[in-house]
Symmetry: C2
Subunit: 424 residues, 2 copies
């Protein structure tokens, strides 16, 4: 049986027909590397500060990231659904967040009715859950969705790392006991680590403040990156230590060079980091305010335990670019690249033929069929950053040139080999 | 090679673990059949008038409808992308729609900046396009997205047929000439007809008024249905006539029984109908206002021709239910059913085994593994409306009972046959 390729979106794509081609110059007003490269390479377009269109190439990257996240969420037994973005004031009043989160929420009135836009979904999901559960037998509940979040960000200068409007995967769980919540909480943390590992990130689980979500500490998933907006302090655990101490600057009392307060052995290191995920253990705080109860096995009414878990999907696109690029452009990891192959045709008919063969084999190809110079095609391929570049030209004499984006080495291989290799 | 099943979302699903089970009573405040059945069967939950959560079952139906629409849009050469939902006032001012569409748009101010929520995306897509195109060689542009629309609907009483917040596929195209636009416009109309045919609808293309979109007439895709909010008049073309005359009541001058003004032969019929799609030929009106130009082959600056094309995705879910149900519940067409099979296990181990086999074969199954009565399981299966019900019990004696939702006939077949049949 043929080996099945994972996470493939097979659509016909000739570069001549792609909306959102590379542009000549870097956008002048952008300061972040991710916005500069993503705009220049044709992945995104800016509508206003902190708000971007995902052009067809960027949309494909989003789809691939979501599929990875979806697979890992499903493994924890969670159900995918979709909640609304426009919310009535009344529900936000139940927890008091209509007032406490006023700064970050978009709130407005129309025809004497007051609304807020989704900056998160705790209140909304608990409203559904309280209608749907009545006994302990209905627990646990584990639900998630991919949806849009709106947050009024005064400093939206980090490209798609921080948006007024952005995509998020948020998962919510409700449990009978604190113990059951705790168990699932760390299962999701593991699922998050698997997601980030698949994306090629080095991630720390960092203790942090809860913001408008909770007075307790929460756990952030931070990717070490000089372009990050967060500063974290962590135990520089070598092979001899796995204490995994890590705290966000906001809450920590340690500093660089201190002895780790947890293992009392290694030294503390400082790093800039990008927060790509965040998990919150709320316990019964929200459920109590919203009246989310079940009957336990003895018929007693008990307040449920609640947690939420977020991953910033558009932020992940930005993080990938911050981490994986060089001076020529983006270098997408294979698992999220918009296409697996970038075929450059300098000899029309033969390239057409290879394009068709690759498509037939279920291999995703972006085929640059334009009537422009070889130099421009090569530069665009480097900028766009698809993992493998294939060239067919008179020079390749019936063979195909294979070059990986992350290497300078080129190889002449047979057409058969070019089809076989991506499936290996 | 094994036959590949189309449009399959393969996820583990035991009904005991599903969030959003059937509820005992019809929701009292709902008047529409679609809302009553979808809420009772656990497909949707209402947040407020005109705003619904798609629970896991409803989410799957949405995914399947979107995939059908996506395939047909892709066939026309369109590129999928994703545009933002929160828009700056400035862009809506360019066409004057900040004022003319005030009633339907959600508009608000925060920190001295004025915003609108997406009630449609013409202005947004033209803003992107004008940045990206410069010569006639960049045309045509054909882009679409699936996204959320917000419209302030005073009469949100038709369940998910009319929402304040709803999902839509909207496609936009830009062309050098009116002729090229016209050609693509009817290509998309054909693609729409293919979509609706795959969903099992009888659809009329109806001439109608353009509302806040255009002063010209537009074409609506209307599904004949007594529960529709629209009234249409159409030529009762039999096999002898294919004049396809059809007009919305808003604009027509004909009435029931009139002679058709187009073929001058058949009689005019009246019907209630649900508008499931709408296509708009704007010509150069919007492009002129927004300054969307290209250089033609002679170096002359010309205004581009523009059209947009919408299909209401959540509305399609409601339409399907209005058309396909009986007094026991929903009867989903195979192509959009949340699952292909509803397996009822009344003999634990054997049902577990069949469930696993079906999953391994790539067949979607909802497995009712609950410890409740056979009667309740049967009633829930009828309510949920999955095309095929399979029962394994002591009575089936090693075989499987196969029953289609649309028929009363039951059959005893072998396990092998139960696996083979859905692939036939």
């Amino acid at each position: 049986m043929k080996k099945k390729l994972q996470n493939v979106i097979l659509k016909e794509m000739r570069y001549s027909k792609l909306f959102g081609k590379t542009v000549r110059d870097f956008p002048k007003e952008e300061v972040s590397t991710n916005a500069k490269l993503l705009i220049k390479a044709g992945f995104i377009d800016k509508l206003m500060a902190g708000s971007f269109t995902l052009l067809p190439l960027g949309f494909r990257v989003k789809e691939k990231i979501e599929q990875i996240v979806r697979e890992e969420m499903d493994k924890t037994g969670a159900n995918e659904m979709l909640m609304p973005l426009l919310h009535p004031k009344e529900i936000w009043n139940e927890t008091g967040r209509w007032e406490t989160a006023k700064e970050v929420m978009y709130q407005f009135k129309k025809e004497n009715k007051e609304y807020a836009l989704s900056f998160t979904h705790e209140e909304i999901v608990l409203d559904i859950i309280r209608k749907k559960i009545s006994t302990y037998k209905d627990l646990p509940v584990k639900v998630y969705h991919f949806s849009t979040k709106f947050r009024d960000e005064p400093r939206a200068k980090s490209g798609i790392l921080r948006g007024r409007e952005f995509l998020m995967k948020d998962l919510y769980s409700v449990h009978l006991t604190a113990e059951d919540l705790d168990k699932y909480y760390w299962e999701v943390a593991d699922a998050y680590l698997r997601v980030f590992k698949r994306l090629g990130f080095e991630v720390k689980i960092v203790e942090a403040a809860g913001g408008v979500f909770t007075d307790s500490h929460t756990h952030e998933f931070q990717v070490l990156c000089d372009q990050g907006e967060d500063t974290i302090y962590y135990c520089d655990c070598g092979s001899s230590c796995d204490c995994n101490f890590a705290e966000n600057k906001e809450i920590t009392t340690v500093k660089t060079g201190d002895k780790c307060p947890k293992c009392n052995d290694c030294k503390i290191k400082e790093s800039k980091a990008i927060e790509v995920g965040n998990i919150f253990k709320f316990g019964t705080v929200y459920s109590e305010k919203m009246g989310v109860y079940v009957m336990d096995s003895s018929g007693k009414k008990v307040t449920v335990h609640f947690a939420s878990y977020g991953i910033g999907i558009t932020r992940l696109i930005g993080t990938l670019v911050e981490l994986f690029h060089d001076d020529k452009g983006i270098i997408w990891p294979k698992v999220v690249a918009p296409y697996r192959m970038h075929l450059i045709g300098l000899q029309g008919a033969k390239a057409d033929d290879l394009y068709k063969k690759l498509q037939d084999e279920g291999i995703e190809v972006l085929y640059d069929d334009r009537d422009v110079s070889a130099g421009q095609k090569f530069a665009d391929a480097d900028l766009i950053g698809i993992p493998v570049r294939l060239v067919i030209s008179e020079k390749t004499a019936g063979k195909v040139e294979w070059k990986e984006r992350s290497s300078d080495k080129t190889e002449l291989i047979s057409v058969e080999e070019a089809i076989k290799r991506p499936k290996a």
